[in-house]
Amino acid sequence: MLTIKDLHARVEEKTILKGLNLTVNPGEVHAIMGPNGAGKSTLGYVMSGRDGYELESGSIELNGEDLMELDVEERAQKGLFLAFQYPVEIPGVSNMEFMKESVNAMRKARGEEALTAAEFLKVAKEACKQVNLPLDFLKRGVNEGFSGGEKKRNEIMQMILLQPSLAILDESDSGLDIDALKVVANGVNSQRDGKRSFIVVTHYQRLLDFIEPDFVHILSDGKIVKSGGPELAKEVEATGYAWLGKPEEAGA
């Protein structure tokens, strides 16, 4: 469903991704690990089309469509979801309002009718419970005054509501205590249905104890230098990233 070929991309003048290849099939969970500065977050931003993240060469196809041809919102409407590492606040706009607009924008793009307020409320309440947030979070401003953990859970709630075909979780585990971590993991696991796919970007192996990946990739200096099964994550946990050595030698 997702095919990334020889992806080179830069932020401002600096090339961050230097020939990244990745194939994700329906239903698979891929974990991407790697040291700071390897390009983990950049990958998510380039895929979702964030302004300032420029493609130099290569291609990204989602379900046979060239993503680079599409606007940010069009990519989202095609089923690409990014759970943010640092979710931003939108004061005065309630979570409920925001999510309803979002869900209905996606439905519209698919040619489906918009959900009524009542219909939406029902699914939103359900999603809220699933990530263990009190219902009054629906009424509060988007991420307004949320704790770090609450923001991350709120992202997962949005993912549950939008049911994307491919979700990228950008360090959704950072700064979470063990209970919140389980909530995030459960949220993802509940969405694994053999069709939806996930890219879990993380620094630590910890999250992968709860979300079992099909594949683990090590990203270093803009390239995937090693791929394997879940055992690779454990290896990294044990040895760290020092074995990567200098970027030039990595993956040789």
Partner: protein, 478 residues
């Protein structure tokens, strides 16, 4: 991203059409003769003419104020026509059936159907077209409750004692340059009188439309709420899209007697001019209310139009325990300039005022909040809370805040909070990543920013205001 935002802010103006209506229009120019003619057209009593002439004489000695943070070419007051009325209004239509259908169509196009059965239930409308009131709906129903709602030109003749007593009592005819000009040449506007203890059974609203070229609109509104009464009033304004600047100088006076409450809301959408600053309405308005014992006056304004806005709806909190409120959203884009805010004059004991001002600047516009909170020597235990927030969209606009605080009473408490923020790339990206296009995203962010003010508007108009902002921002992000 700011480039996208710029694009989104260059919007179209929906109300910019011109109605093809034959009008009687005075040739441009202003002298005592013109004032006599206006007064004669309105068939006014002698005292009214005298009042106008005195206002004119004081205006002639006054200087146009230049302290506001506004830049514009000097207005040539002799190049403006001071009276214009549709020809068909000359014979004073008795009912809606006799009103020129083209006039009715104009209001229909603006979303204000004047046929009562088609109207928003529960809202009575006075429709003012250039210098005259075209029709006032639901008058019988209001009369049953003892409420007077009619054009001020009519009130001058029908209720001279009431008008004489209150006109100029809050905004004296020589109050300031623009108020004096208005007092001399005002042509129409609304008059509202709510008797003692009456809760007005419906929302009252006046809809102002400027149509004729080179004509100024000078309306005057007077609202008197007797002891223990209650009224909610809303005004809306639009004008055609023209290359010339047009002047609008209005005066609004509110009188809230003991225990009365007046809620005054404005949705101002005068033509703002094009993206290069050509054309647009110059909006110089004096609005003030006086609150007696335990009375409450609440101003809510949503200002999206006009090339220039100079406007400070104010409250004189004269009676003990009286309350003044000012909730404002001012949006400027293109080359628009706004200098707006409020004055809260605390005279009575335990008087309270709240000011919530939300300024949104986009494009190359400039948006200034100017507010005065004054605690008089007798204002024991008075309190004010001011919150002044500015939101910037793009990087070529400006926001300014000019708060003035004067306290002559040590027991009075004044609080002022101010913030400035930008619609951030992060916020836009989040919205887009969730499938919303940039325009929708910006309008949502801006609406969220304005929420505290929108919730003060009467329900029907809150929706309207939200939509208006959305249209105003159309094209501001692309």
């Amino acid at each position: 991203m700011s480039e996208q935002i710029e694009k989104a802010i260059s919007r179209k103006y929906d109300a910019g059409f011109v109605s093809d209506i034959e009008s009687d229009t005075f040739p441009p120019g202003l002298d005592e003769d013109v004032i006599r003619r206006i007064s004669a057209m309105k068939d006014e009593p002698e005292w009214m003419l005298e009042w106008r002439l005195q206002a004119f004489r004081s205006w002639q000695k006054m200087k146009e104020p230049d302290w506001a943070h506004l830049g514009y070419e000097k207005i040539d007051y002799q190049a403006i026509s001071y009276y214009s009325a549709p020809k068909s209004m000359k014979d004073k239509p008795k009912s809606l059936d006799e009103v020129d259908p083209e006039l009715l169509r104009t209001y229909e196009k603006l979303g204000i159907p004047l046929h009562e059965q088609k109207m928003l239930a529960g809202v009575a409308v006075d429709a003012v077209f250039d210098s005259v009131s075209v029709v006032t709906t639901f008058r019988e129903k209001l009369e049953e409750a003892g409420v007077i709602f009619c054009p001020i030109s009519e009130a001058i003749k029908k209720y001279p004692d009431l008008v004489k007593k209150y006109i100029g009592s809050v905004v004296p005819r020589g109050d300031n340059f623009f108020a004096a000009l208005n007092s001399a040449v005002f042509t129409d506007g609304s008059f509202v009188y709510i008797p003692k203890g009456v809760r007005c059974p419906m929302e009252l609203s006046t809809y102002f439309r400027i149509n004729e070229l080179n004509t100024g609109q000078f309306e005057r509104t007077l609202i008197v709420a007797e002891e223990g009464s209650h009224v909610s009033y809303l005004e809306g304004c639009t004008a055609p899209q023209r290359d010339e600047n047009q002047l609008h100088a209005a005066v609004v006076e509110l009188v809230a007697m003991d225990d009365a409450e007046i809620k005054y809301s404005t949705v101002q959408n005068w033509y703002p001019g094009d993206e290069n600053g050509k054309g647009g309405i110059y909006n110089f308005v004096t609005k003030r209310g006086i609150a007696h014992k335990n009375a409450k006056i609440s101003w809510t304004q949503v200002e999206t139009g006009s090339a220039i806005t100079w406007k400070y709806p104010s409250c004189i909190l004269k009676g003990d325990n009286s309350v003044g409120e000012f909730y404002s959203v001012a949006l400027t884009r293109g080359r628009q300039q706004a200098d707006t805010g409020t004055k809260m004059i605390h005279l009575g004991k335990n008087t309270k005022s709240t000011i919530i001002s939300k300024g949104i600047s986009a494009g190359n516009s400039s948006n200034a909040y100017r507010g005065l909170v004054k605690m008089g020597p007798g204002a024991d235990g008075a309190r004010n809370f001011t919150e002044c927030d500015s939101l910037l969209i793009g990087d070529k606009c400006a926001a300014h805040t000019f708060p003035y605080i004067e306290s002559s009473n040590p027991t009075a408490i004044v609080e002022h909070e101010a913030t400035t923020s930008k619609v951030s790339d992060d916020q836009l990206f989040l919205c887009q990543q969730r499938g919303l296009d940039t325009e929708k995203a910006v309008s949502m962010i801006v609406n969220g920013f304005c929420k505290e003010v929108f919730k003060e508007l009467p329900m029907e108009f809150a929706v309207e205001a939200g939509k208006l902002l959305e249209i105003s921002l159309e094209g501001s992000v692309g």
